[in-house]
Subunit: 285 residues, 2 copies
């Protein structure tokens, strides 16, 4: 069967599967020096941004990813004030970070300014904190940024990047993690999107190994739904030196801002890994 | 973009989205008195069974659904011995139920014997307990079965049906739940697949209301990943008279059988509902 009408389809080669959106119209298309960005108006998911043909986010369901990339790590750290976001050009992660009143500085470093400018236009709700005095938007090479940054510069680093194929690949390496380790405070934490627990278990496992060999004592994967990414099941992997399955539960319960997905029980639940994932990690890291 | 080559695609009309599998070959196709069953060999998911064009299961990832339809409810009940499965013709739920050594009787009532016969042929691993002396395979109308069954006949009823459109629709009604309530023991539990928390929140909410108005005191939704169903994020809803968020945690930890997904922390995590789901349920049931 083939789909009739106007659709955007992302094929996932590794599993011979594909996810499609019915499209009302293409709102924008441009080739930047780094990548091809397209914006579509979908039937139900609101606007859709793709980069080089891969789904980045939709208006409807990006809250799952953005909340789970930020609140778990920020409530795991005892007192985070200084946050570095590598990638994250759509500004949804930045918005969630700045919901935390104790954050004093949130620097976002995305290589492609056009992602941010298009997000301001087509996902304005994600950009509502871009002018917060604590926010700094930088456009440049995240690899270089972490190489140049000084020791003990950050409490939390969030790597909100594209997949580990193409330009995002350098962000999934031991060399990158070593620099992150150096520029984080002693109790600092790094979190990175780590793909699908079902489709990309080998990659996820390698990330644990590389993070540990870069000098971090602990690693912990969280899992959560994300319908528009391959398998609809996604993960983020945290690393640091402290116990990563403990978090400030009381602070979550008394938080002063709204979340659409995240809460204290969701955080605990996200830490629960399936037997097949736990077994694979135990045997391979 | 359209997919090149041989694909099976399921379109989800309500959200203008679609999921596709690359197909090596169609292994079987038949129109039974009830429905059209097709079996495909996929590239990565193993075999795929569809009914009337909707994905039922694949060899690769059915463990998620089958484990979550059985183990949470069986470990929530204090001592389940007698189980009724309505639907479940692929026998995957039956196999999981019979892993519990305390089960004395597991009756499966599916309307279409051909689902089971084709499952024996194309998903033999799901049918390995069909000849267990505790198993009874019946082929007939589940609605009539629960109408005819005597009071206090079962400890647990598992409704493992197709979607609430078409033949499965009668299994999502107050009248059906009333009969389930009557034939369950006082501490009996019912669990039913309840679609996607993101795509089908209205249906899920109506199920809570109908279960409660049928005489059950409590309802509780569990959520879990299921990549091949719409949104990749699925749920089961339990109902009964006891606290449904408590379960026999120690028995889970010491269980004598293997599970690929389910464990004690996964069970707790599945009970954690997102803020938007909790809010919607609180306001509408």
């Amino acid at each position: 069967m083939s789909l009739e009408g106007n659709w955007f389809t992302e094929e996932h080669l590794g599993t011979g599967s594909a996810f499609s959106f019915r499209i009302r119209q293409k709102l924008h298309e441009e080739q930047t020096p780094y990548q091809k960005i397209e914006i579509f108006e979908t039937e139900k998911f609101g606007n859709l941004m793709t980069i080089d043909g891969f789904v980045m986010l939709t208006s409807w369901d990006n809250f799952l990813y953005h909340e789970m990339m930020t609140h778990p790590v920020l409530f795991t750290h005892p007192a985070p004030h200084r946050v570095l976001i590598i990638g994250g050009g759509d500004c949804g992660t930045l918005r969630e970070v700045l919901k935390h009143p104790d954050i004093r500085l949130a620097q976002q470093v995305d290589i492609d300014e056009r992602v941010t400018r298009l997000s301001e236009q087509y996902f304005p709700e994600l950009c509502e904190s871009n002018h917060d005095p604590r926010a700094e938007l930088h456009f440049g090479d995240g690899i270089k940024w972490v190489k140049d940054a000084g020791t003990d510069s950050y409490d939390v680093i969030i790597v909100d990047s594209t997949d580990p194929i193409g330009p995002g690949e350098v962000l999934f390496t031991k060399a990158f993690y070593q620099n992150c380790h150096r520029i984080l405070a002693e109790d600092g934490l790094l979190v990175q999107q780590s793909e699908s627990p079902l489709y990309h278990l080998e990659l996820l496992t390698r990330m644990h190994k590389d993070m540990r060999s870069a000098g971090f004592a602990k690693t912990q994967t969280l899992n959560f739904p994300q319908p528009v990414y391959p398998s609809g099941w996604w993960s983020a992997t945290m690393t640091g030196n402290a116990n990563l399955s403990a978090f400030r539960q009381r602070d979550v319960e008394t938080k002063t801002f709204d979340t659409h997905y995240y809460n204290q029980r969701i955080h605990s639940g996200a830490l629960a890994l399936p037997n097949f994932v736990e077994k694979h990690l135990q045997e391979n890291i």
